[in-house]
Symmetry: C2
Subunit: 415 residues, 2 copies
């Protein structure tokens, strides 16, 4: 029998009324004759409350490796509660259901507590239970390490759990129910003319998620792409029966009408660091980025430009705004070793990106983008491109203006 | 190395400050060179909150076997949180510590979800961890069934967890830290002259717990007696270093100065049911109590008296006040089959008991008890005795008067 995985996030299970609504949705789906596994997050607010308790108990003095495993024990309890409650709510509706915790599911992860990666399923009895007609209610966000400790997958990890379960069950799809009714061409709170996308490729969704769209966790899209699990994003706030087509994230081949540009993403959590007067000789850049990588600082865009002096260059790169003070501190300590003259950190910047698989076969996309921005007098600071996206760094106050201009320029506005 | 189990209840871990205080106590104990396992309850109020959620999700319509297993999943999360938090608080103090959940501990229980009984430990790695110098922080109240489901031990089950762990570890003792500083000769809120008992035998403590003293769960005392684990009840509200002798619950042989009567217990959760005109022939009582047992009603005191008519008797018994409406309903349905004339249910009654191993060798104890009550004009309704206790049923408004009178009559008042 066909299997489907459904996933409900924190706001969708935020209280008993919302859980009852989820039970109604699941019951309606189960009536259609599919085998259903439901992955649930903690009730909205619970995870934050548990994180605050863990931080309070540990104080400031604990190293991460002294903290993360017990943090996982505390925080994973949130999903456990929701899984039990939804199983009860389904039984109340006359359905067979049971909850599954990470260790019962045997969802094995590595030992990176707090942000563990899924290694696979180890001889789980989940398929047998589903074959016996039980709806599986799975505590998302959690797995178990080889040495039988609780591990969590990091914020948004329930999406990844859901896709991993769908892949392991060879499910026909994974439906992510959330508080929006799909993936939009851009942030609808910023651009009222944003439209729901009907179908989007894994690659585009991956770029959208990495570049700032918050609907799906990046890793879940990666996993869906690797296992070719079609993911549908749809609303948990509609009643069963109401039209709820959502957005289908699937392989590029299955999308007939390809857009040149599918969406516009933005991120405000950016900082630009400029190192003036770097020695322009082999090995210097390698040393610079090795230092940053070892410090756990994720570098995004990189540009090198000639400086005025001889054998000197200026190096520009971006990292998250959050990381920037630490990056600055790290580089200051290494100033003599790396050999730059001075450093400038600009924190009030944004990254705006256009994404579309159509770029592969269409020319003039970059030109359209740059003209649209220049017509609004928006100065481009740094540019980065991949096969299916172009990102530009601009001054933060221009973010909304840029996103709206690009949304219009690429014909994405709703009529 | 000697091992000791410490147990902290809900009010002792009620917030982060209280948990910090527990960590200080545990740290001080660990400094003395013992191997320590700590069993913790859920933070005060959490269990009630989780029970309310489970009841809310299930509604009224679910049969117990449809409810109890998922109830356990929801409710067991409370102890999980505390265990993680205390492990962090201990690490903050520079100690090696880790949390243990029921399934990690391999604390096997039967399948009576919601009130499961401990079957034993199954190849646990707990002793190895303790030998390696780690303080074990154990989520109380929970175990795991053979088919890998979460099971809870019923209210107060953390005491039982603690004693079970102590027995399995062959620990030198189990110290139950609570919000009182020991076991008292009677309820100190009712009788200001109540005294802390220094030592009490398992048998006496078992009667005290069954008869209404709320300090220890009955099953934990049973288990301590069966495995001869000395249990100390002491205060978690004192700072490390302050005198905190508590009450030692141990084998009778280890108590040199035996009291005739060690304590006075009372219970207000009582009801008396009288069946008038029962046929006075063999098999009728057996049928009556079989019916009640099958309905899950726990019958306590039983008295049969001749009735006026020929071949007729009146049967008097007690059950908990909570069960009495159901007992009434059950018996009304069986009226013709059992063959009684009429029934009376009296709910406003209390049971007052005196307990002491000294009764075995002393005469006149019952006489002293009945005289003390009669001097206060308290009418005795039903009497029940065992080797080490005498219980009487009286009208509820006389409870405090009776307890105080007996406390004085048996020389228990503090000077």
């Amino acid at each position: 029998m066909a299997r489907t995985v459904l996933k409900f996030g924190g706001t969708s299970v935020g209280d008993l009324d919302r859980i009852a609504n989820v039970a109604d949705i699941v019951a309606a789906r189960a009536e259609q004759g599919e085998q259903i596994a439901v992955v649930v997050s903690a009730m909205a607010g619970e995870t934050n409350k548990l994180v605050a308790l863990a931080e309070g108990a540990a104080g400031n003095g604990l190293a991460r490796e002294q903290y993360d495993d017990e943090y996982d024990v505390v925080v994973a309890s949130g999903e456990q509660v929701t899984a039990g409650l939804l199983a009860l709510a389904l039984r109340k509706r006359g359905l067979k259901a049971r909850s599954w915790l990470g260790w019962q599911l045997k969802l094995k992860t590595n030992k990176s507590h707090g942000k563990a990666r899924i290694m696979g399923f180890d001889d789980s009895s989940l398929p047998d239970s589903m074959d016996a007609g039980e709806i599986a209610v799975i505590a998302g966000f959690q797995g178990v390490t080889e040495d039988e400790r609780v591990a969590t997958l990091g914020r948004g990890g329930s999406d990844t759990s859901a896709v991993a379960v769908a892949a392991a069950l060879n499910a026909q799809g994974c439906d992510i129910y959330t508080d929006v009714d799909g993936v939009y061409t851009t942030d609808p709170r910023m651009v009222p003319k944003a439209r729901r996308i009907k179908k989007i490729s894994f690659e585009e969704m991956l770029e959208m998620a990495s570049l700032g769209a918050k609907v799906l966790q990046t890793r879940s899209v990666e996993m869906a792409m690797n296992h070719n699990v079609p993911v549908r994003v749809l609303s948990s706030f509609l009643k069963p029966g109401e039209p709820n087509p959502g957005t289908l994230v699937c392989a590029e081949e299955e999308i007939v009408e390809k857009q040149v540009v599918s969406g516009v993403a933005y991120s405000r959590d950016e900082a630009k660091i400029t190192l003036f007067g770097m020695p322009d000789k082999p090995g210097v850049s390698a040393k610079l980025f090795a230092v940053l990588a070892q410090s756990g600082i994720n570098v995004d865009m990189i540009v090198q430009a000639n400086a005025r002096g001889p054998d000197r260059a200026n190096m520009v790169f971006t990292c998250t705004d959050r990381d920037s003070p630490f990056a600055k501190e790290t580089l200051e300590k290494m100033k003599d070793e790396i050999g730059f003259d001075s450093m400038e950190v600009t924190r009030d910047v944004s990254k705006v990106s256009i994404i579309g698989v159509g770029m592969k076969s269409h020319t003039g996309v970059a030109e359209t983008m740059f003209r649209a921005l220049s017509e609004k007098n928006i100065n481009i600071d740094v540019i980065a491109t991949s096969e299916i996206k172009i990102s530009v760094l601009i001054a933060a106050p221009y973010t909304e203006l840029a996103v709206r201009a690009l949304h219009t320029a690429f014909g994405l506005d709703a009529e």
